[in-house]
Symmetry: C2
Subunit: 441 residues, 2 copies
């Protein structure tokens, strides 16, 4: 699972020229999955693979007999409209064989005839409509950045920012699956109950403190049966791949509603995910040891501990958040970088999150989405949401054109990016996860 093979070779080039550009998100070493259509129509959703600026339409390649026996099983079911019906259910071996074959047919070693056949099934990303890659049965959001949890805790409980369970439990809660939308979907500012003045009655008004949260999501591949926990040693076998997640948050609604059962309407109005799913195999070269716990921190309990998780549980994934306001767009000012963080700074690994989730016997299902929670680092410029960056709005941020922001305003677009980089390997990108705020109705 953490092994590096020929599909990761940095010298491997594709005959799809754009895939060889050094700054592309989708070199031949990546091959992320997506669900796309040529028109904005649910009628003709297809499974595709990102390569350079294109999407490879998988099914016609299968029909043209480009897949051998080993990779056959995945391609034959790729004539489907979401990944969870087909690709995600397959085991790592089949997925790996499929990846190897896709790598072959896109590599520069391919002959002219093959390029002709495959070339007919390359669609420019710019001309494709991208869709939610899976039917998401259940969505779970974790809270696994200790820097984020400490910052947020400090705002509300200055003397006691981190609750006693934090270092023992990958804290998580159930989110809303129905309102998960794909990158590019406009986000309407939600209405909600607001009680900023405790002397007054609450009011039902458009959210005032609208925020983003920079997270990473991971899709469940094979599920487990109800009543059968997943041991930490096998946790990653149940993870198909990763995407970027923007967990939009209505902070004023959240502050008033969340006691005692947690966030509800403050989050359920929308969650945006990036459309390309980067597979675990593509990420193999970027696996790093689990976060190093400071001295004095407890070690996790046995059901959350394994040698592999210790050595390779982390992922060195760079994350960036940009903002572009309406005024910036009008003035042709490029999106402004708000923060940079890295997934390897999470206190808990995705393997630990998944093993914990199933530790009570809860059945995870193919296509379920889990997200890490806001990923912040320990520096000020690595905070993954405005709540932290502006310290609850008290320290507004300055934008290059003189505008300031406490929280998001109508017309603001938030753009998230993710990419892995390592000496000796090609850059593996995640594409973008973007959403623009529309005014409340």
């Amino acid at each position: 699972m953490y092994e590096i093979n020929q599909t990761h070779d940095q010298n491997l080039k594709s005959w799809v020229e754009q895939a060889n550009a050094p700054d592309t998100d989708f070199p031949i070493q990546n091959l992320p999955f997506c669900v796309f259509s040529r028109a904005c129509s649910y009628e003709d959703l297809r499974i595709g693979i990102g390569i350079g600026d294109f999407i490879l339409d998988v099914y016609p390649c299968y029909e043209a007999c480009l897949f051998d026996d080993e990779s056959f099983t995945i391609a034959v079911v790729a004539n489907d409209y979401c990944l969870d019906h087909s690709v995600m259910r397959k085991n790592a071996k089949v997925q790996s064989a499929f990846r190897r074959r896709v790598s072959e047919i896109l590599s520069e070693d391919t002959d002219e005839e093959m390029r002709k056949i495959v070339g007919r099934n390359l669609i420019p990303i710019a001309e494709a409509e991208l869709w939610r890659p899976a039917h998401i049965g259940d969505y779970t959001d974790f809270y696994c950045s200790i820097f984020h949890a400490t910052n947020v805790g400090a705002m509300f409980r200055p003397d006691n920012p981190l609750l006693p369970n934090y270092k023992w439990i990958p804290i998580g809660y159930h989110g809303r699956a129905s309102s998960i939308v794909v990158s590019g979907t406009e986000i309407m500012r939600p209405k909600g109950q607001n009680r900023s003045d405790t002397e007054q009655s609450p009011v039902y008004i458009p959210c005032k403190n609208l925020d983003y949260e920079m997270e990473v999501g991971f899709f469940v591949g094979c599920g487990n049966d109800l009543g059968e926990p997943i041991p930490i040693e096998k946790a990653e076998e149940h993870i198909f791949g990763l995407c970027l997640v923007n967990d939009w948050s209505a902070r004023d609604v959240q502050a008033w509603e969340y006691q005692p059962l947690g966030p509800f309407l403050a989050k359920s109005f929308a969650t945006t995910i990036s459309p390309f799913v980067v597979t675990m195999e593509a990420l193999a070269p970027f696996r790093v040891p689990v976060f190093e716990r400071p001295e004095g921190d407890p070690q996790p309990l046995g059901y959350l501990t394994s040698e592999e998780n210790q050595k390779f549980g982390g992922i060195d994934l760079n994350l960036e958040v940009y903002i572009q306001t309406e005024k910036m767009r009008d003035e042709n000012i490029e999106p402004h970088l708000l923060s940079r963080s890295n997934m390897k700074d999470l206190y808990w690994t995705i393997g630990q999150m998944l093993a914990h989730h199933a530790s009570n016997g809860c059945n995870l299902q193919t296509g379920d989405l889990m997200a890490t929670g806001t990923i912040s680092g320990d520096s000020k410029d690595s905070r993954g949401c405005l709540l932290e960056m502006t310290w609850r709005g008290k320290e507004p941020i300055q934008l290059p054109n003189g505008e300031t922001r406490r929280f998001l305003e109508d017309g603001d677009e938030v753009i998230m990016k993710g990419f892995c980089e390592r000496e000796g390997f090609r850059r593996i990108g995640f594409g973008t996860c973007r959403g623009r705020i529309l005014p409340s109705d």
Copy 2:
């Protein structure tokens, strides 16, 4: 929606004799929906209607041309394996026409020929396998009994049992949809982190304080689009029907994990629902005014207020919880009544819960399940869970054979019942919602 019509007439009798028994749950005035099969097989799931001790298999009745134009649309799609694909999507008018027609073909006014045709499609409930009636996309659990919230609050915050938001917001949180199981499914005692001794490290062990929660669930019929709240005046048009819910809870796990984001693994190991869905139309005679708020309590905000909700928002539904331990079964002792409560004592109505849920634009989808939260009354014998009944285990309950219980033990079966009664109307029952505890692996 609250209108009483000929299908509610108490003098209406069925030629299915068992449906005329005074204590049946399923008289001809009820006609609840279910999904069933004759064998324990996912291959042949059918939509059925409960009548007496039987289930009417709908599709063959349609094939036999028993449905007229008006009720046609619902019957023709009833050759399906769950209600949300078909029946639940239909509007109230179509559902009502279908109910009228089913009432006709089961009524004693029917001629012999009709009885013969229909009779061929009656399956004894005892011979049928009952299934989860819908694909549940998202599951939301509320916390709408003020008596329950006050009791639970008092245990943890004696001076301040009810949080300031309680009387303003129908408090709810997202639950786990995948682990919702149908009545009769055995429930394995979950493992989880337990830290009863704050001086010690937590341990991962089988749950010690396993509990039930007596709730009522309601299924979303027609959904709404993302970004489009549902006005309270239209809320009930989006509710298809009701079932019983046992929200199993691991109290020791919950106490340790739930801060700050709410219950997670303490609930997600299993939730049991009763298989028959009683439609809103069947419940029309049992609608009552909203809970009378004590003087001094605030009135709900405008988006949670309507004249109809005020007059008819409540439902007079009696609820009973029974327990039968392994020893009681061995000794042939009948299940023991633990508590009696009533849904009309909820502080918030199901219409308010649904309107609140969609008030931020969250899209509800056909088949989504919402539950009320534990329904307790203001007396000791009306507490809807053991946590309240035994006051966190401090006051064990006595069972008729001398056994005592703080929380559930292995082999215990919890049986929930629900029924509406009103002078001048037939009793409308919900069947049972039962589950037996298996020891942890």
